[in-house]
Amino acid sequence: MSEIETDVETIQERLETARAEIGKRIVGQRAVLEQLLVCVLADGNALLESNPGLGKTSMVRTIANVTDLDFSRVQNTPDLMPSDITGAEIIHETGGTREFVFEEGPIFANVVLADEINRATPKTQAALLEAMQEKQVTAAGETHELPRPFFVLATQNPIDQEGTYPLPEAQTDRFLMKILVDYPSFEEERDIVNLYTAGTPAPEVDRVLTRDEIQAAQSLVRDVPIADDIRDRAIELVRRTREAEEIQFGASPRASMGLVLTGKARAFLHGRNHVSWDDVEAMAPSVLRHRIILDFQAEREGRSTDDVVRDLLAEV
């Protein structure tokens, strides 16, 4: 076995170990966990949508725990100001002298969990999303680089929409994936209950991935080769969303990039050195569902974006 292979395989093995470690705390939700790790490997941001109490925060926190990444959490509320997230210049007094010092906000972490992002005002959302896109924050004319790697995992609640500010389509497009967290099965829920009501502390997880390894993995993911025809089919899938009858607004070229990149990340996560169509197929719903808007007719018929994406996948 060559040295090159050992290097790549070591990182892939570490990722597998990290999944196993997270599994100690998070029961079930394997698909969600896989998509979150794909998002991390693809250096993207994810929007998690679920009803309350499904363990989103625990999952994101555990991901941070199995790595040596900094974790911070922002609970979005309507009165949250942009500076509450990004940070602000404050007057710092030392030795009788006063000076303005930039106080970093919670966004200065490797993993940022922005809970209930749709409860923040559009202005605060915009500040968060800009930081997410640019990976830097500008305050008082100074630009501050965010730490790397940097992920925002935002959550939103599909119910109880009163007093919320739904994210504009242009902003949701900045999330690489929209991950739906569903209710666990009966057996999984029983295990969750047993795990967290037995009077024993939550299981410990080992730190198995360093930030350097994550960054190396992110770099390797982009090197994963993809066959021309698979890439073209992925692009064709995204283009079809712009022509499909049931879709009012289709996905942007950013979706094409996202689909190929997440396909590469999934292949890498599975220990493969090439992208398979199965990877693209598996990633398509979460990459496209928040980037397309169905027309009135499709909505009236009760069709979801996932239904339409599934149909398009069957066509290409």
């Binding site: 292979e5 390797l220 080769p225 025809d229 698979i230 890498f268």
Partner: protein
């Protein structure tokens, strides 16, 4: 050459080899199918004469010396129309099949026959053609090259289909020989002479060489068979003047029937060709006279 270059080069050569195998398979299928179609077409033309296909076709002048060059002297440089039809149909099928079979990427055909390298091989092909030599690409090349040890291009050939086709080709070959020996022809089916025996007007295609039809002219001095013929005339009867024989010289030809005058011309449809023939004869004679 570095190790990385060597791996990439091996991958490149493997892809070339796979393509070559694909071409070979396409040619195998094309040859077998072309033989089948050629024999079938030739047999059909032999059994059911087609008017547009001539019975024999002369070989082009450029071809005849080629035979001489290989030491074969052709006394009659002609081939049958059926052979030409078969050869043409076979060539057409061969070319079309090779084109059609190589239209789908050969590497993907190979993948279909060897699922263990599915998607990996085509990815490696595209990557190596793009000149990718990063860590992941090199590990992919190494994996694919390993997997190729377990693959085979035999799967590209549907042996059952080829065998069945070859058996049909064999049967057709035997049938062709049989037809040639028996000179079997389903006259009447393909527009040849009418099976009912009714003569159809022969289409006039111009004057033919008499010598070609009748053979070389020979001088005949006299008939070999001599016949004696005598005509006796004599009077008899009741003395009716009209019954009395008389000399033709003095009385001319006398008959009891009226001679109906007839207009020279051609009324029957088939005689129109005769009229054309006569006209052409006249024109030829006139030309010769003028000369």
């Amino acid at each position: 050459m570095t190790t990385d270059d060597a791996v990439a080069d091996r991958m490149r050569r493997a892809v070339r080899q796979i393509r070559r195998e694909g071409y070979k398979v396409a040619v195998v299928y094309a040859v077998v199918d072309a033989a089948l179609v050629a024999l079938l077409a030739s047999l059909l033309v032999q059994v059911v004469p087609v008017p547009v296909v001539p019975e024999t076709v002369g070989l082009p002048d450029a071809v005849v010396p080629l035979f001489d060059r290989v030491g074969v002297t052709l006394t009659d440089p002609r081939v049958t129309g059926a052979s030409v039809t078969g050869l043409t149909a076979g060539l057409l099928v061969f070319v079309l099949e090779v084109i059609l079979r190589t239209r789908r990427p050969l590497v993907e055909q190979f993948e279909a026959a060897n699922p263990e390298v599915r998607e990996a091989l085509r990815t490696a092909r595209d990557a190596v053609e793009d000149g990718l030599q990063n860590r992941i690409a090199l590990s992919l090349y190494a994996d694919v090259l390993d997997s190729l040890q377990e693959t085979s291009s035999v799967g590209l050939v549907d042996l059952r289909r080829v065998t069945v086709t070859l058996l049909v080709v064999l049967a057709l070959s035997l049938a062709t020989v049989q037809v040639a020996v028996l000179d079997l022809s389903l006259s009447g089916l393909g527009g040849g002479p009418d099976a009912t025996g009714t003569d159809r007007p022969v289409e006039y295609t111009g004057l033919q060489d008499g010598d070609e039809i009748l053979g070389e002219p020979t001088d005949v001095s006299a008939g070999e068979e001599e016949l004696e013929a005598g005509i006796t005339t004599g009077g008899s009867g009741s003395g009716n003047a009209s019954d009395v024989p008389r000399a033709y010289d003095t009385g001319g030809f006398v008959t009891s029937d009226d001679v109906a005058s007839q207009q020279a011309g051609f009324t029957a449809e088939e005689q129109l060709e005769d009229a054309e023939l006569i006209r052409e004869y006249n024109l030829r004679i006139r030309e010769e006279t003028d000369e």
